[in-house]
């Protein structure tokens, strides 16, 4: 920009953050049914009546067909690793004591991918295509956290 600025620049920084609590209302008919399935160690998905794609986690509107999805299917707990990353820091930037293996997995019979944390394997041994199985919590409450993480099958 070249020109000399007329104002002398004197600045300081102040810290700030959002201080708003939200109460998100969401369609429990779908995610809650999925979570309820987890309580019984079941992986449930929804199938689009038009394109027949199976979604896990379940979704209730198909973006491709723009139709409501009401059909449920039960899948085997086996999954395949589709993509992964090894994170060396938390999302907030702090260095992690142990690297975190984050995967995108596809349950057998599903067309969409699910997020998964993967353990009991060294980061350098992770390969796309390996088979994984969930490790369940002893006391399951019908929550997403009922699956602790995934390990090689």
């Amino acid at each position: 920009m070249g020109e000399e600025k007329e104002l002398k620049l004197e600045t300081r920084s102040v810290k700030g953050y959002w201080d708003i609590q939200y109460r998100w209302r969401f369609n429990t008919a779908y995610l809650a049914k999925y979570a309820q399935g987890l309580k019984d160690k079941k992986i449930l998905g929804t199938r689009c009546p038009k394109c027949q794609r199976v979604f896990v986690p379940p979704t209730y509107i198909c973006g491709r067909c723009l139709v409501e999805i009401k059909d449920w299917v039960e899948l085997k707990g086996e999954a395949e690793l589709i993509a992964y990353t090894v994170a060396y820091s938390a999302i907030t930037g702090e260095e992690l004591k142990e690297p975190n293996i984050i995967g995108m997995i596809k349950f057998e019979g599903a067309d969409s991918w699910s997020l998964a944390q993967i353990k009991e394997i060294k980061p350098e041994e992770v390969r796309i295509g390996i088979k994984l199985k969930p490790v369940w919590k002893e006391e399951r409450k019908g929550q997403l956290g009922d699956i602790k993480y995934f390990v090689p099958a």
């Binding site: 920009m1 600045t11 979604f55 090894v86 995108m104 796309i128």
Partner: protein
């Protein structure tokens, strides 16, 4: 289009990793310089479109604070919260409608004042993937990189080659935030590993910067400048937000956008375009972008790069300015691509000028893993 729309003037703040200037100062000096250099009076601007993001600014409806420095006082001002390339598209539509003859577009952000990767984790569904607390912009993009590399047997070296090209181009651009006159694949692969396979030099730098562009109707454009750049084609589209329902090995929405923009501009093949300025936020994305634009078959973006075709002096130069790996002031990045494409067409790109392009392509993206894409075809 109802009537032709031209780009008549542009200006950018030098992109920097950290600017001392507060955002209001940055915008004020930018807009002043733009108007003064091009002898455009504030009174000649009919409408102002700003591009910023409430999360980046840390305040809601953040454009109300920048109305005065952007010159929008008592004008029809509005805001786009995506990328500045969409703001340019919006301005173009306002002019094409016939209700406005001129529009000023201002896009900015200050990446030094917040954590852009963390801010993007708030794009994720709060009732599902955000609950896991391990995804931010970088780790999501790393999943995309890994899925893409696996699909086509690519290596971290292939990604590093993109960084080498763009960061050495960036050294030729005096307004970029990051650049190296010499850089090797080995140096890229030795930079800190953030989220495997993405290393520091494969990720965009958090950047402070801004860009401002004036658009005008054909008649008015010819009065304001003797070298207008015309928008010949434009299209945008987006995929769904949830990563697991997308094909992460390709940029489907960019492919669709490019095809429509080419058709609108009357282009049969992307090889008719002389220069490409694209928004590759991460190294692997440039390979995916060249494929979606039709410059290479799926999975062959790395081969195109290795042949030298996308180099500054190659057959299809991509990011001679250094691209987003050299500077990524979010919200302004797509506008920088448009400005750089315009500079190339006018022969004003300086040390990173390519050889006489007749047509130029500018690309913008926003959303996790380039969920949404826009393509503009520009010509003299």
């Amino acid at each position: 289009m109802l009537r032709r729309v031209g780009i008549v003037a542009w200006e950018q703040s030098k992109s920097e990793l950290e600017k001392e200037e507060p955002r209001e100062d940055m915008i004020y000096y930018l807009v002043k310089a733009l108007l003064e250099k091009n002898e455009i009076k504030r009174e000649e601007i009919d409408t102002v479109i700003q591009c910023s993001n409430d999360y980046y600014d840390g305040r809601t409806i953040s454009n109300v604070f920048t109305v005065v420095p952007s010159g929008a006082y008592l004008k029809q001002e509005t805001k786009v919260e995506q990328d500045g390339a969409w703001a340019v598209f919006y301005a173009m539509m306002r002019i094409a409608s016939g209700h406005f003859d001129t529009a000023l577009v201002v896009g900015y952000s200050k990446g030094s004042e917040f954590d852009p990767w963390l801010a993007h984790s708030y794009c994720l569904d709060p009732t599902y993937d955000r609950q896991f607390k391990f995804l931010n912009d970088c780790s999501c993009s790393a999943l995309q990189a890994r899925a893409y590399m696996e699909a086509y047997n690519l290596t971290p070296q292939d990604l590093a080659l993109v960084s080498v090209k763009n960061l050495t181009n960036g050294a030729k651009n005096p307004l970029s935030a990051r650049g190296f006159s010499q850089l090797t694949v080995e140096q890229v692969l030795e930079s800190p590993l953030y989220s495997d396979p993405l290393r520091e030099l494969m990720c965009y730098p958090f950047t402070d910067g801004a860009c401002a562009i004036v658009l005008a109707s054909e008649e008015k454009a010819k009065k304001l400048t003797d070298k207008p750049v015309w928008i010949l084609g434009v299209s945008c589209s987006q995929e769904e937000a949830y990563l697991g329902a997308r094909d992460l090995t390709q940029l489907s929405s960019l492919k669709k956008s490019a095809e429509k923009a080419y058709k609108m501009a009357g282009i049969n093949s992307p090889s008719e375009i002389g220069v490409f300025e694209v928004s590759e936020f991460y190294a692997h994305q440039e390979l995916m972008i060249t494929e979606a634009l039709g410059l290479a078959e799926p999975g062959k973006g790395a081969e195109l790069l290795k042949k030298g075709d996308t180099q500054l002096n190659g057959k299809h130069p991509v990011n001679p300015s250094g691209g987003a790996l050299s500077a990524n002031p979010l919200c302004a990045t797509g506008m920088l691509r448009i400005m750089e494409a315009g500079k190339q067409l006018r022969g004003e790109a300086g040390e990173h000028q390519v050889d006489h392009p007749q047509l130029a392509l500018a690309h913008g993206q926003y959303g996790i893993c380039a969920q949404s894409n826009i393509v503009l075809i520009l010509g003299r």
